[in-house]
């Protein structure tokens, strides 16, 4: 995996290849697999994302009973055209909730980058495909873009809540999704980099403070903000708004912030929302 977005863009120019291809080629070389194998594996990931949304059951509840049925409520309001965010963003919200809830209810999902943030990328990509009729091949290429961005974040910082807090999970997922959207909307490589930088910047500092230590509260609903933030960040980048701090340096900043976070707000369930009176009450009652 690459450790720099700059380097990725440079190589894309040097090799005269699209960014997704550069990401794919490097991985195929490292893992010793063919480009065809890699592409069909990535396509399988996209298909699994589709099924994770389709298999949603609004009647399911998580083992703790804290999560379930939320997406159904949004869907109802969207169908009645009552959502303030409109239909497109409404569908994204709904899917982010569906997939993140399904995860909490022990259904099959694609960790991207993590299980806790599994709703962000599919919510954005599946809705974009519905809206603009992209082929599954286009979507697979977009997944390479997301994977490339996630890879750079993993190399420069971290994708784990235990190391970097929620910014490393929902923040990274949002940055990956923003880059993928910029790619699908024919943005330049710089637009892709700017979209991911803008997305992560808005989520820097996010604590990982799950109630009772479970991937439920606030994780499920944070998938919504990650997904919507990806769309607004991609729109800003596509409009020509740049991130004054380049993507690589934003990732470095996330690492530094992660180091400043005490362990209480890094997935231990010992800080933030987890230790509010209600959070404690929920933990004791489980």
């Amino acid at each position: 995996m690459y450790d720099s977005i700059n380097k990725l863009i440079e190589d894309s120019q040097k090799m005269n290849l699209p960014l997704w291809k550069v990401i794919q080629k490097e991985d195929c070389h490292e893992e010793n697999i063919s480009e065809e194998e890699s592409f069909s594996l990535m396509k399988k990931m996209y298909e699994a994302m589709k099924s994770s949304e389709k298999s949603y059951n609004p009647k399911l509840r998580s083992r703790s009973g804290l999560v379930g049925g939320e997406a159904g409520k949004i869907e109802k309001r969207r169908m009645n055209r009552e959502l303030l965010v409109g239909d497109f963003m409404g569908r994204i919200m709904e899917k982010a909730l569906k997939i993140a809830e399904s995860n909490a209810c022990m259904k099959r999902i694609v960790a991207c980058p993590t299980a806790g943030s599994c709703g962000v990328l599919p919510a954005v990509l599946l809705t974009l495909q519905e809206e603009y009729n992209y082929t599954d091949e286009d979507m697979t290429k977009a997944l390479y873009i997301a994977a490339g961005i996630g890879g750079v974040i993993a190399k420069r910082a971290s994708l784990s809540g235990a190391e970097g807090g929620c910014q490393a999970e929902i923040g990274s997922a949002s940055a990956m999704a923003a880059g993928a959207v910029a790619f699908l909307k024919n943005g330049s490589n710089d637009d892709i980099a700017n979209a991911s930088a803008l997305a992560l910047k808005s989520l820097l500092g996010l604590a990982c403070d799950p109630v009772a230590g479970l991937v439920e509260v606030p994780c499920v609903k944070r998938n919504v903000v990650g997904a919507l933030n990806a769309i607004s960040s991609a729109d800003m980048a596509l409009a020509g708004i740049t991130s004054r701090i380049p993507a690589d340096e934003v990732f470095d900043a996330m690492k530094l912030i992660g180091h400043c976070m005490s362990s209480e707000i890094r997935e231990t369930g010992k800080g933030g929302l987890a230790v509010t009176p209600q959070g404690e009450k929920i933990r004791k009652e489980l």
């Binding site: 995996m1 083992r63 995860n103 209810c105 694609v110 993590t114 299980a115 997301a146």
Partner: protein, 223 residues
């Protein structure tokens, strides 16, 4: 780590460490047993005990012991599957000490033939795991490679026997570790390989003088 660790794995939720990692631990233990498990005492340490129930760590471990994969949607139903197979399961808390990873478990297993095995393993993040102990002896391996675990007396020559056998079969060593309980006492050799080791070679090793036990973890055999 590769790009399919970023987009992927496909898994049953909710947690890569507490669910997918737990399935993997069970599955590795099942493969080490090399036969169906009849009795499983499952002891949870640290966060596996405190938040395991909410994450489904209990049914995930059992699913793994039954040979299910991390993306099998029968994971939440594993207790029922275990009942059908007449596998008895019990859970308890254990303190494996402050050096143990917070997501650790000790499995005390008995197979259908009466074979016994004790495994201590931890889920180290992103669904990756580490087996820390086998039958009370240190053993650090990931379960990502075919792994040969040789218990022998601490005497000269056993490492050479194992490595020449591997060379003879054109098997490349990925990692290799040696531990001993004391000079001249019990030693253990953990060899992670790039290729599978044939059963005949394992039998050959088992019969060598000074070799006490050979355990083989195949990363491919269907369960």
């Amino acid at each position: 780590m590769n790009i399919f660790d970023i987009i992927g794995p496909i898994m049953v939720g909710p947690s890569s460490s507490h669910t997918a990692g737990a399935v993997k631990i069970g599955r590795v233990a099942r493969r080490l047993m090399d036969e169906d498990v009849k009795e499983a005492r499952i002891l949870f340490h640290g966060s596996f005990w405190t938040t395991g129930k909410g994450h489904g760590t209990d049914c995930a471990i059992v699913a793994g012991l039954l040979g299910l994969n991390v993306d099998d949607d029968r994971i939440p139903l594993s207790f029922d599957l275990a009942k059908e197979k007449k596998m008895t399961i019990s859970f308890d808390k254990i303190d494996l000490g402050e050096n143990a990873h917070p997501n650790s478990t000790k499995l005390i297993l008995k197979g259908i033939s009466g074979k016994e095995l004790e495994v201590v393993a931890s889920s180290i993040g992103g669904g990756r795991i580490m087996v820390n102990e086998l039958d009370g002896l240190t053993a650090n391996f990931s379960g990502d490679y075919p792994t040969l675990i040789v218990h022998n007396l601490d005497q000269p020559g056993h490492v050479a026997e194992v490595t020449s056998m591997l060379q003879h079969k054109s098997i490349n060593i990925a990692t290799m570790q040696l531990y001993r309980s004391g000079r001249g006492a019990h030693a253990v050799m953990i060899v992670e390989c790039d290729q599978e080791v044939p059963k005949s070679s394992i039998h050959w090793l088992e019969h060598l003088e000074g070799i006490e036990k050979v355990t083989y973890y195949s990363s491919q055999t269907e369960i």
